[in-house]
């Protein structure tokens, strides 16, 4: 299944500068693994060693934050769009 994945500026070093790449999989976990297979190093920027999505990276499937749809287990269908956006956050 072809899924469009929008890549934020800070991660485009892994995608030869491309703003958007295609990945395949029927869950977000499979998409992340497929991204890693083609863009080595990107997975570590998205997922903790424990296997959870990183707290300060937001991932959306069809405009819904995956924190509310099952995280990496979120299911995908052909034509869905995944958007990755780093959180804009900080603190003193």
């Amino acid at each position: 299944m072809a899924i469009e994945v929008r890549i934020p500026t800070i991660l485009r070093t892994y995608t030869d500068g491309q703003k958007s790449v295609e990945a395949s999989g029927s869950t977000l976990q499979q998409i992340v693994d497929d991204l890693e297979a083609n863009h080595s190093g990107i997975k570590e920027r998205l997922v903790e060693d424990s296997g959870e999505l990183r707290r300060f990276v937001n991932v959306y499937v069809n405009d819904e934050d995956v924190r509310f749809t099952g995280g990496l287990e979120t299911e995908l269908s052909d034509g869905d769009q995944v958007v990755i956006l780093p959180a804009v956050a900080g603190g003193c």
């Binding site: 958007v83 780093p86 959180a87 804009v88 956050a89 900080g90 603190g91 003193c92």
Partner: protein, 139 residues
């Protein structure tokens, strides 16, 4: 160096004073690749905290889609410190993920919600390295 219109600079300061004692945050978008800070977008601090700020994730997506549609990028990412100096904290540095942005810090510690001068400083934050830069205000 960051060049900023006085009007935008004043609006960022007003936002910071209004939200004090919580941290205020937002961006100034500009045409992609132009390094021109053109359009101020005040964001809600979803953390609602005097020591932390975070854009709401839904609003963050909406903002980035809007910028995408306009061929814009975040030229400035700003937030306020309400009890400390206008210098990026360890957390600010660790979480800075816009390598092309000017990170503007405003400190409201001296006058809070009241009129009076504020510290207004700008930085590049790339791979955890903070570099302060001059701010030039354009009339």
């Amino acid at each position: 160096m960051l060049k900023l219109d006085r009007e935008i600079r004043d609006a960022i300061v007003a936002h910071a004073k209004r939200d004090h004692p919580d941290e205020a945050c937002g961006i100034v978008a500009g045409p992609e690749g132009s390094d021109t800070a053109a359009r101020l977008v005040e964001m809600v601090n979803a953390a609602g905290s005097p020591t932390f700020y975070e854009f709401d994730s839904t609003e963050l997506l909406r903002l980035y889609r809007e910028m995408d549609d306009n061929d814009e990028e975040p030229v400035v990412v700003y937030h306020s410190h309400t009890a400390t100096e206008a210098y990026p904290s360890r957390t600010d540095t660790d979480l800075a993920q816009e390598p092309n942005a000017h990170y503007v810090l405003v400190s409201t510690r001296e006058h809070g919600n009241s009129a009076g001068p504020v510290e207004f400083r700008s930085y590049r934050i790339v791979d955890g390295v903070v570099t302060e830069e001059d701010v030039t205000i354009q009339e």
